[in-house]
């Protein structure tokens, strides 16, 4: 094979293909409307006559929920790793806890980017993904809370009087004795 034998794949979504060329035939046995109807739920299935935009929006909302729920899928793994690393203060447990804390923080900071692809592709009026974003943030906050709980059981949260002992001013005595 020479240097020019590169393979290019056209990954244009099916709906785009449909928009671009009506003459393209569906694969044998594939019913796009039925698929869109199953994705949009019972209402969508019942309404085969809705236009493409509605079907597109429904699909995007579905994808948005998937994105919103994705941080929750990693929580059990993080909990397992935390349990494995123990509660003692060591380099490994500190790294794990740092990861548990930093991943949700990074995700929350990038919430717009996480949903940008889904929002950008919408036709007409911008798609309102606020509930999905709120769920996304809420789940990540739960992750942060888990990390904070980890810090707490590791004794790294300054929640007791001993944590502030070094900052107490020394006592002043009003008399001298020799």
């Amino acid at each position: 094979m020479g240097g020019s034998s590169r393979v290019y794949a056209d990954l244009t979504p099916l709906t785009a293909q449909r928009r671009g060329g009506r003459g393209v035939r569906e694969p044998a046995g594939f019913d796009l409307q039925a698929a869109l109807g199953a994705a949009a739920g019972g209402a969508g299935a019942a309404d085969h006559g809705r236009d493409d935009a509605a079907a597109d929006a429904a699909l995007r909302v579905k994808k948005a929920w998937e994105v919103a729920m994705s941080p929750g899928k990693s929580l059990p793994m993080q909990a397992f790793m935390a349990w494995m690393s123990g509660t003692s203060v060591s380099i490994f447990s500190i790294l794990i806890t740092g990861m548990i804390l930093m991943s949700p923080l990074r995700a929350i900071a990038g919430v717009q980017q996480a949903f940008a692809g889904i929002e950008r592709g919408a036709k007409g009026a911008p798609l309102d993904l606020t509930p999905q974003k709120a769920a996304f943030v809420a789940i990540n906050i739960a992750g942060i809370l888990f990390g904070v709980y980890r810090l707490s059981i590791m004794g790294l949260l300054p929640t007791t009087t001993s944590d502030w002992l070094a900052f107490l001013p020394p006592k002043q005595y009003l008399e001298h004795s020799v």
């Binding site: 001993s162 006592k171 009003l174 008399e175 004795s177 020799v178």
Partner: protein
């Protein structure tokens, strides 16, 4: 809690101890960061002796030491420390050394091998410390000794077993023993009426049978200058008489002969005889001295008694010397007879029995060591002579005939050290400062020239360092650094000692080099206080130490301010009257920054208080300071009472006086055994953390009052009570009764305090059912604001008058040994753990970590998780004598009187100094040397690695750049 609870607890404790870093030194550090000086004290008896071709000088000292010194070098061949005993007689003969001593309720006689110092035998008899005692060799080659001990005349043979014993009765204080003619004579001054005189008891040497007892020399007393015992004779001169009466011990007819001094010294006139004095010369030998004044000159004649051809007593002159202002001594051992050492300049003259004339000079600094007060002449193995002199300041000098300088000198003043203060030293000059010192500004050198000089000095320093590195010693030798120059780490300080012989001397804490010495008075120096620290600029006032000394001859107190770096007297005042009971450094300074000192004389009313320096400015400064912050002190002016006083000034504000504030009376039947003591200074109460963090992360807040004082009382019903008092209010903070404890000279009460912890040690007897074991017990008491975690008095300022009662947690441990002093280590910021240093009677300085002395250690059960988190290990009664924690490693630091700790500039490191008979200085790192590179750290490797990395980066950079470019084009 003296009982250990099982093997598990002990095992855990042992593991905890094993986990501690070893404080012992590595072999290459021994003697480099620590130093040790073995001392013997000021000799009061000297004797020379040659045995098997080896000559030595034997000394019995006022510190209870018997020592053998090398006659040529002055080094200690062997010594025996009889701590707490007063040595009465020292005799050397036949390869044996005999010492008679008293102390601890016993009179003792010991005999050592003169060459090795090995104890041959010892004999002890119960006796009061005031009972006279004496001992002499029998002289028949057997090594037996006849001694007066415990009111009996005893012959003691090998093994220390008495061969016979004869009770002497109480008619006289028998303080002499003479062995002559197959009899032993006990001679003593008669007690009660009868006008004095000597009582003689004669006993058969073989079986101790009483042969005769009689009186002689009526009205005379030994040591009065008119009566002496010379060999087997008693010689005396009646008051107003010019002739001597001499009695041969045991002779009955005639009871005494008459002798006239003109027989040996023709120039004597009757009036000279009337004022002459007799002195003893060589113990056991028939010699004595006559000292008289003639034509304004003082002369001393050595005379020997002998048996006349007709059986009577005769005498002959051995030597005569002018002895104006000189100390007189004898030669002993035949040969030399008399030596006189000038008290002024150390010049000495000696006359041998055969007319041999010797002279020499023992040059020394009389201002630092005082006049010569004792002299002796000893023979060397080769038959030569050595003059030995002892000065009032405690310097022992030895010189050879014809030499101007002393052959050797031993300064024993610091074996009698009474107090010590540490003075920070200025750091060493930088290269620029050295260059500035080397260049002569007056020569008109330009700035550029000085700049060049500075760089040249730096280059020289770097070259010297590199050269040292190549030779394996990067640091310059300590000996090359002047004793008054410090270092950048605060390891080098000046230790200023006050001595019982009136000397103030300054030694560098690193290596022990002497900076200066000065004799202030003929009495003891009671206190040394740093009154002004080193200032950063040379133009600032100099550092000052104030010494308070007794003048025994003038019945006065000398208070002197000395330049801490040179010893120059900056100011000196003589205060008539007895010495002050207390000397208190005050938290106030005069206008020149010099700290004020309060001198306290106790009286039945308010104690007399005098401020030093005695200037109006000082009084006003003290009044201003006392008005701003009330100032309290306490005195134990009674066996059963402690009183507190407040310094108060009148309306004019310049006449400070002591105003009664409180009184603490001991319960009936108790007397003070150890007066209230202030340990260290305010830094003893300073702490980096105000509380102790428990396992659950709650806090017990420390009771860090600087006013806590500790005292011990002896109970009439038995036992010892220990009280912690508040010095401001007189309030009792804590008390503990140790029913089985006993405190006395043999079992001293020692204590120390660090932060909120008081540690003390005392002796416990066995009490059936109560105290199961006999031994020393170390008690630890931790004071907290409350026993409830997180409970704290949140007020920002506290008054000692309204502080709450502390909660006290205590524990007792079996001590690692009898201790003569305790001290807690001290670092700059109090972050490092504070170890407790035990100065043990065995001569070891043992440093125990604070967790081992923790009174919160769980008893009877393994520590819980919280307790483990707190760092507690299970309680075990014995405090281990861990060899790794013996700071003094191979040295025996004898008879330690006090241990002092001082911070350095490194938080990890504290200085520890111990003084008593011996001196010992070292550095400790209780929490490890966390702020220093280890000695094995290779700076060369670090530099090489850094350079290699830099070179690697330089080499790799073009390659990486090429690769990135190629990737971009791909």
């Amino acid at each position: 809690m003296l009982v250990g609870r099982g093997l598990v607890g002990r095992g855990l404790a042992a593991l905890a101890v094993a986990a501690q870093a070893a404080l012992g030194l590595f072999p290459d550090e021994a003697g480099r960061i620590d130093w040790y000086r073995a001392q013997i004290g000021v000799p009061h008896a000297l004797a020379g002796h040659t045995h098997n071709g080896t000559a030595a000088l034997y000394a019995a000292t006022e510190r209870g030491v018997v020592a053998a010194l090398d006659a040529d070098s002055g080094s200690v061949r062997w010594r025996h420390v009889l701590d707490g005993e007063a040595i009465g007689a020292l005799r050397v003969g036949g390869g044996r050394v005999l010492a008679q001593s008293a102390g601890g309720g016993e009179a003792r006689v010991r005999v050592w091998d003169a060459h090795s110092g090995a104890l041959q035998w010892a004999f002890a008899r119960h006796a009061n410390s005031t009972d006279p005692a004496a001992a002499e060799f029998v002289g028949d080659g057997s090594g037996d000794v006849v001694a007066v001990a415990g009111g009996a005349l005893v012959r003691v043979g090998a093994g220390g077993e008495p061969a016979w014993e004869l009770r002497l009765g109480g008619s006289a204080a028998f303080g002499r023993v003479v062995v002559a003619g197959g009899s032993a004579f006990a001679i003593g001054e008669r007690r009660g009426g009868g006008g004095g005189g000597l009582r003689v008891v004669q006993a058969a040497l073989a079986d101790g049978a009483r042969q005769r007892q009689y009186s002689v020399a009526d009205g005379q007393a030994l040591g009065s200058g008119r009566a002496v015992v010379a060999g087997a004779h008693v010689l005396w001169r009646e008051d107003g008489d010019i002739v001597w009466r001499v009695h041969r011990l045991g002779a009955t007819s005639p009871p005494w002969d008459l002798l006239h001094a003109k027989m040996v010294q023709e120039e004597l006139a009757p009036e000279d005889m009337l004022t002459s004095t007799l002195g003893e010369l060589a113990p056991g030998e028939p010699r004595f001295t006559l000292t008289y004044a003639k034509a304004g000159a003082r002369k001393t004649v050595a005379i020997e008694l002998d048996e006349g051809p007709d059986g009577g007593v005769g005498m002959r002159k051995l030597a005569a010397l002018r002895t104006d202002g000189a100390a007189i001594g004898c030669g002993g051992g035949g040969g030399a007879a008399l030596v006189a050492v000038s008290a002024a300049d150390g010049a000495w003259r000696a006359r041998g029995a055969g007319g041999e004339r010797l002279r020499g000079r023992l040059a020394y600094d009389a201002a630092a060591h005082g006049p010569v007060v004792r002299a002796a002449l000893v023979r060397t193995a080769a038959g030569g002579a050595r003059a030995v002199a002892v000065t009032a300041g405690g310097l022992v000098l030895c010189g050879a005939p014809g030499a101007d300088a002393a052959l050797w000198a031993r300064d024993e003043a610091l074996a009698h050290a009474t107090d010590m203060a540490l003075v920070d030293l200025p750091p060493p000059p930088s290269g620029a400062e050295r260059a500035a010192a080397e260049s002569d500004p007056a020569a008109g050198a330009s700035a550029a020239a000085r700049y060049a000089l500075r760089w040249a000095a730096t280059a020289r320093a770097v070259a010297a360092w590199a050269f040292g590195l190549l030779r394996g010693s990067a640091a310059p030798a300590d000996a090359a650094i002047p004793a008054t120059v410090g270092d950048h780490f605060g390891f080098r300080k000046l230790a200023v000692f006050g001595s019982g012989s009136g000397v103030v001397a300054a030694l560098n804490t690193q290596g022990g080099a002497r900076a200066w010495a000065r004799r202030l008075a003929d009495g003891a120096v009671d206190r040394v206080v740093v009154a002004r620290r080193c200032q950063p600029l040379a133009a600032d006032p100099p550092p000052v130490v104030v010494a308070v000394a007794r003048s025994a001859s003038a019945n006065a107190t000398v208070v002197a301010a000395l330049h801490a770096l040179t010893g120059a007297v900056l100011r000196s005042d003589t205060l008539p009257g007895p010495p002050p009971a207390r000397v208190l450094p005050l938290p106030a300074a005069a206008a020149d920054g010099q700290q004020l000192i309060a001198l306290i004389w106790i009286s039945s009313g308010a104690p007399a208080l005098r401020v030093w320096p005695p200037t109006p400015d000082a009084a006003r400064s003290l009044c201003a300071a006392a008005a701003a912050t009330p100032l309290f002190f306490d005195v134990a002016d009674d066996d059963a009472r402690v009183r507190g006083f407040r310094i108060h000034c009148g309306a004019d504000g310049d006449a400070p006086a002591a105003l009664p504030a409180w009184a603490f009376a001991l319960p009936p039947g108790e007397t003070l055994a150890a007066p209230p003591t202030r340990y260290d200074d305010d830094a003893a109460h300073a702490a980096a953390l105000l509380g102790r963090v428990l396992g659950d992360r709650s806090v017990l807040y420390k009771y860090l009052s600087p006013h806590v004082t500790t005292l011990a009382a002896r109970r009439a019903a038995g036992g010892v009570a220990v009280y912690l008092l508040d010095r401001v209010s007189g309030r009792l903070l804590h008390s503990a009764v140790h029913a089985a404890a006993r405190v006395g000279p043999d079992h001293p009460f020692v204590a120390t305090q660090a932060e909120n912890r008081v540690v003390y040690q005392l002796w416990h007897d066995v009490i059936p059912g109560a105290a199961p074991a006999r031994g020393y017990v170390t008690v630890v008491a931790d004071l907290y604001e409350s026993d409830v975690p997180d409970a704290r008095d949140a007020r920002p300022a506290f008054s000692g008058l309204d502080l709450a009662q502390p909660a006290v947690v205590t524990a007792a441990f079996a001590a690692p040994g009898p201790a003569t002093a305790l001290a807690a280590t001290r670092t700059a910021s109090h972050i490092t753990t504070r170890d407790v240093v035990f100065a043990l009677r065995s001569g070891a300085l043992l440093s125990l970590p604070a967790p081992l002395l923790d009174p919160r250690r769980p008893v009877g059960a393994p520590p819980t998780a919280d307790e483990q988190a707190e760092g507690l290990v299970q309680y075990a009664a014995p405090l281990p004598l861990d060899p790794r924690r013996v700071l003094s490693h191979v040295h025996t630091v004898a008879a330690v009187r006090r241990v002092v700790s001082a911070p350095t500039h490194l938080e990890s490191t504290a200085l520890v100094a111990a003084y008593g008979l011996d001196l010992f200085f070292t550095r400790v790192t209780p929490s490890g040397s966390f702020d220093q590179l280890s000695p094995s750290f290779s700076k060369l490797n670090l530099a090489a690695t850094t350079l290699a990395l830099a070179a690697g980066c330089l080499l790799a950079a073009p390659m990486v750049r090429r690769q990135v470019t190629a990737r971009a084009w791909a």
